[in-house]
Symmetry: C2
Subunit: 324 residues, 2 copies
């Protein structure tokens, strides 16, 4: 029988597990609450139990599994598979996640951070399929990233690469939660978009968003894009600020790693076509006119499955290269 | 006898040729005028003659040479070894330089652009030795770059990578010769540094640079750094503008490819320790405080030999990998 590959996407809220064949077709998947508050031991139990139950429920045994991939949030030592810390996994401190999962499931296991894993998923099976040089952005509360160069993930020295939300687009600009000023994340994340709109309303700007703020106590990024589409001028200014920051970022990064395709993922892409259209618009506005740049800017296609596909695919890739 | 590797650095003014053993020790080197004005045929003759004469003068024959590397300025198709165009080689239009040199010398030949070749030289034998993730900047009239990620040069799709001078550090900022606005090259190249100083003098600023401008008709980047060191306030402001742009660039790029070391080369590094010290200062000022980043910022060490060492080393590397 064809060997299977398990992809595990550990998040602060849910553990997702997918079982894939060696062509990366999804055989079955499931999800269970992480119970991060219970600490690492319980979380490791949950991972193991969830994977075991998924296989059992689908008439499979661990014998059918060739290798496992696991993705986790937070700063980590990727080679060693150690989670240094993770805001969404509060009691994780230097947890050797790869080793623990490998021991529990008795399978060779590869570890990756969650953004890189999702990037790899889109690379092998989604919006970046067939593309050896790509950039991947997750637009959520923050902005995360992944880079594929010459068909491989870029990790950098001590895994410092691909912190793409913290590229500085404005010197001495808006403060970013990371401690820097002027990061693209401080302008263009969902949180920053919402914050810029809220600040404008609080400063007295006229806008249909005022009613939203008064009835909900907040303005979400989704509100901003909805009111932009509906024709509100302030919402337009705020949303265009987001899109222009992202378009500028694409120009700068084109000149760094030379991607063929730039893929945007994350909750914010629910804003839809208008977001994509305006990022492309600003990219064309800021890029040099001398040489046409055939970079494609598009949305991710795998949604919440990117992590499980990516981790399973990384396990398969490492096995094929004889590295796992 | 140990096989030799020829490194050829084609520039607008000179052709440099070096002969190296398989440990990349320099055996002999020479240089000759390019005569770019005479067109590609003559230049190819000059390359071949210069290499042949170097070997003959040192009691070597072409038989001793295993492979050749050649570096060239200008947009090019690196894999194919074609120079698309080059400002300093005015009659070069889609010239298959790799093939022509390979035919003339009857040797397997590898092609690289000049900035990447110099970057590879520093990587194998200079300031980036032993470092698998590095960034390389040439600070001259413009700003060029090279990226090494996981021990290999990053080329990107259609060789679009590593145009590091055209990262945008200020939206709607100073116009850059490339047609974009706010590129780091528009603030921190030697030409931009000189231009910003000249603009300030023309606008009436008080400075010891005024006398330089009045007697020489121009202010060079070298003048700016000399007068900065001597205590002139305007020169300080201009030079600090250059260093802060470069420090900011280092922060942003640390978050992209995660280099262990960032190496500055080119004519501008003649400014010396003060340039390096201030780039490091601004790097520390702009980087996040949360996580110490152990990146090293330093000067290149190979000087004008970087190109010949780099191209010879690329030929050796490709032969060892069975790719040439």
């Amino acid at each position: 029988m064809d060997k299977m590959f398990l992809g595990i996407d550990l998040g602060g809220t849910n553990i997702k597990v997918g079982c894939f064949d060696s062509q990366l077709n999804l055989v079955c998947k499931t999800a269970a609450p992480t119970r991060a508050d219970m600490g690492p031991d319980v979380v490791i139990d949950k991972i193991s139990d969830t994977a075991g139950k998924l296989l059992a429920d689908n008439g499979l045994s661990l014998d059918a599994v060739d290798a496992v991939g696991i993705g986790s949030p937070g700063p980590s030592k990727i080679d060693k598979g150690i989670v240094i810390s993770a805001p969404n996994l509060p009691r994780f401190r230097n947890i050797p996640l790869r080793k623990l999962v490998s021991q529990r499931l008795s399978k060779p296991t590869i570890f990756e951070n969650d953004a890189n894993a999702a990037c790899w998923g889109e690379h092998v099976a989604g919006a970046g399929k067939g593309v050896d040089d790509m950039l991947f952005f997750t637009l959520g509360t923050g902005i995360g990233g992944g880079i594929i160069s010459n068909g491989e993930l870029v990790h950098g020295f001590k895994d410092n690469a691909a912190e793409l939300g913290h590229i500085i687009i404005r010197k001495d600009g808006r403060p970013c939660p990371c401690g820097q000023q002027g990061c693209v994340e401080a302008y263009a994340s969902a949180a920053a978009t919402s914050k810029r709109a809220t600040e404008a309303i609080q400063a007295g700007a006229q806008s249909s968003l005022r009613e939203v703020f008064e009835s909900n106590g907040e303005i979400t990024c989704k509100d901003v894009f909805e009111h932009y589409t509906a024709g509100d001028r302030l919402a337009k200014n705020v949303a265009e600020g987001t899109c222009s920051a992202l378009g500028l970022l694409c120009v700068s990064l084109l000149h760094v790693t030379g991607p063929q395709r730039i893929v945007f993922a994350g909750g914010m892409i629910a804003a839809g076509e208008i977001l994509l259209k305006r990022i492309r618009h600003f990219f064309r506005q800021y890029i040099w006119p001398l040489k046409p740049e055939p970079v494609e800017i598009c949305f991710a296609t795998l949604g919440e499955n990117a992590g499980i596909i990516g981790t399973a695919a990384l396990a398969l890739h490492a096995r094929r290269q004889g590295k796992l």
